[in-house]
Amino acid sequence: MRSAPGLSLLAAFVLAAASVPLWGSGYSINLLTQIFLFGFLAAAWNFMALTGLVSLGHAAFFGVGGYATAWLYLTWGADLMIGALAGAALAMFLAFVVYWMAFRSGLRGIYFSGLTLVLAEALRFAAINTPALGRSQGLELVSLHLPPFLLYGLSVALLVLTVAGTWWLLRSPLGYRLQAVRENEGAAEALGVHTFRVKLAATLLSAGLVAIGGALHAVLLRFVEPESDFGLSLSLNLLLGTFLGGTGTVLGPPVGIVVLFGLREGIARLGELLALGSSGIYALQQVLYGAVLMLVVVALPDGLVTQVRRWWAASRGAPAQAAPEGLQGGTQAASKAEPEAAPAALSAPPAPASPAAPSRSSDPSAAASPYLEVVDVSRSFRGIAALSNVSFELRRGEILGLIGPNGAGKTTMFNVVSGIFPAQLGEVRFKGERLSALAPHQVCRRGVARTFQVVQPFAGLTVLENALIGALARHARIGEAREAALAALAQVDLHAKRDLTATSLTLQDRKMLEFARALATGPELILLDEVMAGLNESEKSQIADKILEIRDAGVSFLLVEHNMRAVMRLSDRIVVLDHGKVVATGLPSEIARDPGVISVYLGRSLAHAPVGRAA
């Protein structure tokens, strides 16, 4: 959905929907209200699915919205609108408490879904057993007098707003961060995304909207009841609609709901013909829903909308892209939105921006003072010391090599510096500020970026979007972030490949993409974890040239590398780790002659390794 056709599509939909009361029967208005309402609900469910979390318990929020509205109306005579808003607030509070705890303890997969399932079941049970909520009979909203078409109009408005909101969200900084979390939470965190807050924002939004939908549903049916409001069927139907249409897409959830309602009505007609009775018809509908759910998982895991888009692209001879609709649309919109910026950037890549601190040139004396300080850091895992009393420092503008045999603690050291594991003893300081108590995204935002030994691209996103997520650490506005991302891609020569999906890159390019994402965060220090592993000699020397070039632009490096030739060539100084201890520190030439270091490497002589940088 591109911006201009998307808008006209929405306008056409609103006009068509507005005309229905002129010619539609009461039955069709009622049916359409339900379709639009459920389309809205599925789109709201989708907000949560954007983070890659699957909720089996959104009925909890739906029910809270419905019950709050009904109870407030019946007990206090509260306005229905107030009731719905109160329900939404309550649902968001509930979601906040539950998800806050769930995200803190890092639940994923079955444990997370199970938690949501248990939440809805617990509320259903509570409703059944609370006399004030009418126990299993529920509450009936008698003597309601509503203007005609009010609910219909509301359902249209909510659906349109949510769909447009999804479209907008996918192009906003929050949307990109959500997609980063979905694709790879660890990498997102390392690139400065406050994953906890992002997930919480998406789930709260989702819970609040679903509660409003629950309120509307309660008013539409004029009752709330435990099974239909808190039951598993409701949660599963929302999930089914979203999956059928396409999770994470703009139009998928409402499209899926429309298809489901089509099936539902078809079965109802068939059931009437066969005189099955309402219970039999309902059972058949649910059987069909279950079968469709299984079919979608096996045959259409990306949903109808994405699949149709692919067929469409294939029939027009365009290369089929693996990216889901929203993301693909994102790049199209991006290149549409800036017709002059993109070609200009293509013909002349932007000059490598100097991402380093502005203070650097104004303060020449700083070069001598410590920049990154690692002081007596210890870290053990279940009693096995991975690091013990490690101390070293890195000066501004320096490339410091961190070497040692396998298991020496190099990657653990990286993880401590970048905030993935806290140091148990000692501390890490950067420019005098303690890093050791910070989360990875905070470390990143203080100017220390990292790459991973095993490349972790955001697989479903394009190269540009990958870098963009890094750039969002420094730039709040999407336009500025895109500029910074393009500049970072230009620095590592990935500029021409910016619209490819990350998965289609070669290993070398993926390594470069890791590098570009780190650069896009505007770092002063980059931790490179074995960036050369798995590459051939010419690729290695290309990366080495890049590192030197970027260093000359003012970025310091901490380098873990197994390739001795590269370490000797690149590093200004080297720290040698063995069994979690520092065994030597010094210039490359000193290290190569150090008998202790040679014995660490089982006597392998480093004397013939080329010494000194080929600067």
Partner: protein
């Protein structure tokens, strides 16, 4: 009701017996997760279908539900084998989330086909009315037999998994699928055996469940949640721990019912699961640590 020792004993014992039946339901769910890394929420649907099968058999003249159960167990074993060859063949390669969604789809199909054929009404089998009594504790004979059968099956399954070659092979293939393949185990065949066993356990659980409780199609949803709850409490892939957790839940429920009310007991169980999920997702009973 006074909280005398005999009342307490009554509650503890009947709670433990009921809990061991919960354990029987959960064991099959846990077995297939432990053996083939398949999260099968449809397991509860199989249990409910067995209950309807037994009901039909008893109504059409089979002497006793256990006789029907004796036929159901081997039959379900074969069905489970077939299901793992067909419907579930690709499930173990899916992500967690896709497995959950897929098997919930199957659960919907099973639950509502039952509702389609048998209606939403509540069914139950008449009880014999006989009870055994010792030390002031009165227990219905069906409950005692059901609990004993559940305990027996848990012990048998545990022995099978820890003592026999086939059981060890199943555990090995669950622990490390690739490693098991490398040492020559046929993991596909092993996962079929595990699914077949899990279905046989569902048959056993359905048979003993029908002798002690009422049931209706949507019972499948409740049993699915129950199985999940029990298994989380025990540790997801530990079969015997699931059984123990089932017993604990039964006791917890009985004591909560005695002191407060059934609904508060149920809510307390949900609260307990919340706490366990958040604090110790590897389960209370399982000794396995987090990695």
């Amino acid at each position: 009701m006074e909280l005398s020792p005999s009342v307490l004993g009554q509650m503890l014992l009947s709670g433990a017996l009921m809990g061991s039946i919960y354990g029987a339901v959960a064991m099959g769910f846990s077995l297939i997760f432990g053996a083939a890394k398949i999260i099968n929420f449809a397991h509860a649907g199989v249990v409910v279908w067995v209950m309807y099968g037994v009901l039909v058999a008893v109504r059409s003249g089979v002497v006793h539900p256990y006789v029907a159960g004796l036929a159901a167990i081997p039959l379900c074993y074969l069905i489970g084998h077939g299901v793992q060859r067909t419907l579930m063949a690709r499930v173990s390669t899916m992500s967690d989330d896709m497995q959950i969604i897929y098997t919930f789809g199957l659960l919907l199909v099973l639950t509502y086909t039952a509702q389609f054929f048998f209606g939403p009404d509540v069914h139950y089998l008449p009880t014999s009315g006989r009870a055994i009594e010792f030390g002031g504790v009165v227990l219905q004979i069906e409950t005692v037999v059901a609990g004993a059968l559940a305990l027996g099956s848990a012990i048998a399954l545990h022995a099978f998994l820890s003592r026999t070659w086939l059981g060890k092979a199943i555990r090995a293939s669950a622990d490390n699928r690739r490693g098991a393949t490398l040492i020559g185990l046929d993991v596909v065949r092993l996962s079929r055996v595990a699914m077949a066993l899990s279905f046989a356990l569902a048959a056993l659980a359905g048979t003993i469940l029908i002798t002690v409780t009422t049931f209706y199609p949507l019972r499948a949803f409740e049993l699915a949640v129950l199985a999940f709850v029990v298994v989380v409490l025990g540790g997801l892939d530990n079969v015997f721990a699931s059984f123990v957790a089932g017993v604990l839940i039964g006791i917890f429920e009985a004591v909560g019912t005695l002191i407060f009310s059934p609904s508060i007991a149920q809510l307390a169980i949900y609260a307990l699961i919340f706490a366990v999920l958040l604090v110790r997702p590897q389960g209370l009973v399982s000794r396995q640590g987090t990695k």
